[in-house]
Symmetry: C2
Subunit: 342 residues, 2 copies
Amino acid sequence: MYRQSLKGDSERFFELLKGDVVFLFVIGNTKTAEIPGITMAGANPDLIKFTPPADVELLYYGECKVIPFPPATPDGKPTPAIITYTALRLTDVPFLVIDSGLMVKPNTPHVSIGAPIGENIEIKQAMNLEDVEKAFKNAVEFGKQISKLADVIMIGESIPAGTTTALAILRALGIETMVSSSMPSNPVEIKERVVTKALERINGDESPLELIAKVGDPVMIGVCGIAIGSKKPVILAGGTQMVAMSHLIKRINENADIAIATTVYVANDSDALNHAPCPVIITDPGLSDSIKPGLRAYAEGFVKEGVGAGGATLLAYARGFSKEEFLKEIEKSYETVIETKL
Amino acid sequence: MYRQSLKGDSERFFELLKGDVVFLFVIGNTKTAEIPGITMAGANPDLIKFTPPADVELLYYGECKVIPFPPATPDGKPTPAIITYTALRLTDVPFLVIDSGLMVKPNTPHVSIGAPIGENIEIKQAMNLEDVEKAFKNAVEFGKQISKLADVIMIGESIPAGTTTALAILRALGIETMVSSSMPSNPVEIKERVVTKALERINGDESPLELIAKVGDPVMIGVCGIAIGSKKPVILAGGTQMVAMSHLIKRINENADIAIATTVYVANDSDALNHAPCPVIITDPGLSDSIKPGLRAYAEGFVKEGVGAGGATLLAYARGFSKEEFLKEIEKSYETVIETKL
């Protein structure tokens, strides 16, 4: 099994990936990531804010500029951008970066939608509603334009602590589930504490943009806005964060033509995917068979997803690469991008 | 005559416009525009810096946000963005904005390449070479990605006083010509004074990026970088500024597949187009026949070109609109966009 439909009709989306694809990476920051122990998306707390720009620099150049090494967990497990980098390298699919509330700008071209940085949702409202509305409008306009150029839009994300803000959105929508995590021991207690506090802000009559402003994060503005603006089908490449966003998108437009593509590692970790209001495609990048311990760790519960890794894997398969070929190429990327920096 | 080749084989570029086109607007500021009397691209000197963002807001929304009315000359002749807005409205061609050194950001999505604002070239070096190189690299990467999505890239610009910095580049390259102007009485003396002073910085052995850094403007970084990065033919939609940039592009890569498309009003105003190192296509938006005095002014020597107006006209013609139809639609835009604000 290298691909399966967890939910709904996913075949049409897979076929679309054989046509003109544009891959968008919507990246940003929430200060929720500064809560000790909440995320492993960075080698240490001071470096977490560099993870999103470093991820997309890796996609562009095979190396990072804002930090001298690729993002990794504290014990050296590499960013999932390594999987996405490999798929982009193999398929030559065009990709663009969207600054959706970054603390540090990447040394790559990037589309600005004027999104604010997200506050720590445990202690205050994530963002000002007016700022959210303005940035959302820009994201819609960008989605409208860029979708004219492709048959399908793929959207990945990078935002440390994004699963916590996603959990807050899901709970605010009344969906009882637990989200995935970059750690095998999901810091559930911390996430529950933060989300419980954040939900005190919720009345229950909020619009999707009000929910994002109260308990979400800025990446939600970019992803949802682009998906709403798109005139073509959209694949949300990510795990439980994309489940939260798919609900927001469907609340804005119930006819939005979206699907989720994610890794088998997320599917094994959380039941949230079953709560998605759209087709869900699960892909297996085959890392459990890797000769590299840093990659095998993904199959052992670390990292799991991010920077569109699941969607990127699906893209590689749609373009005719076998699971074995793709794994070999990921290992090759690992050698040039990661091992040279160890 | 609604279209003619002033120079070189232009037919191939015209045919490409029937395929997948992406229209890019590279906008920025140079403090050279603060020299009294040098530009009319703004109703008064304090408003000049708002002209580029207002121009692209007009393209997106049919109205401006950073200022409450569309850019115009002091006596009310409207920005050429009105022509481009009309062509985009008719053809539904996808377009994106590139922030290539803006003082004020537009309320639209825009691609950042990290370009600096240009200094006044009469009194100092335009930009730091290192900044130019970094932004150029981003522009090349963006050009590489976006060109995968189209058959041809069209690039327009908006930068007040851009003809003065263009003149400095042309002179620095040893090309003896005068550039066009947004005024019937081209402020030649001011331009000559500024350029003479700027050229004191030139040794004659500068690379193209060094020339831009010494006497150019930041929009040149974006336009040249995207053209160099593009894997597809590029049409530079503009007048004498694009002549200067076409020379820089050809110095970086003599095989760059570029052409210039501009209005007949520029062709009537300057011999600089004859000095282009690439095909030049002249289009006539037919404004001399307009029932609107503000549009007829173009044929009387005002404004003439900008925001890709000549290229946009060519695009409308390539997509099957007649000169009469296009003029009628420009007048319709004029009524909704300009007259409602008078």
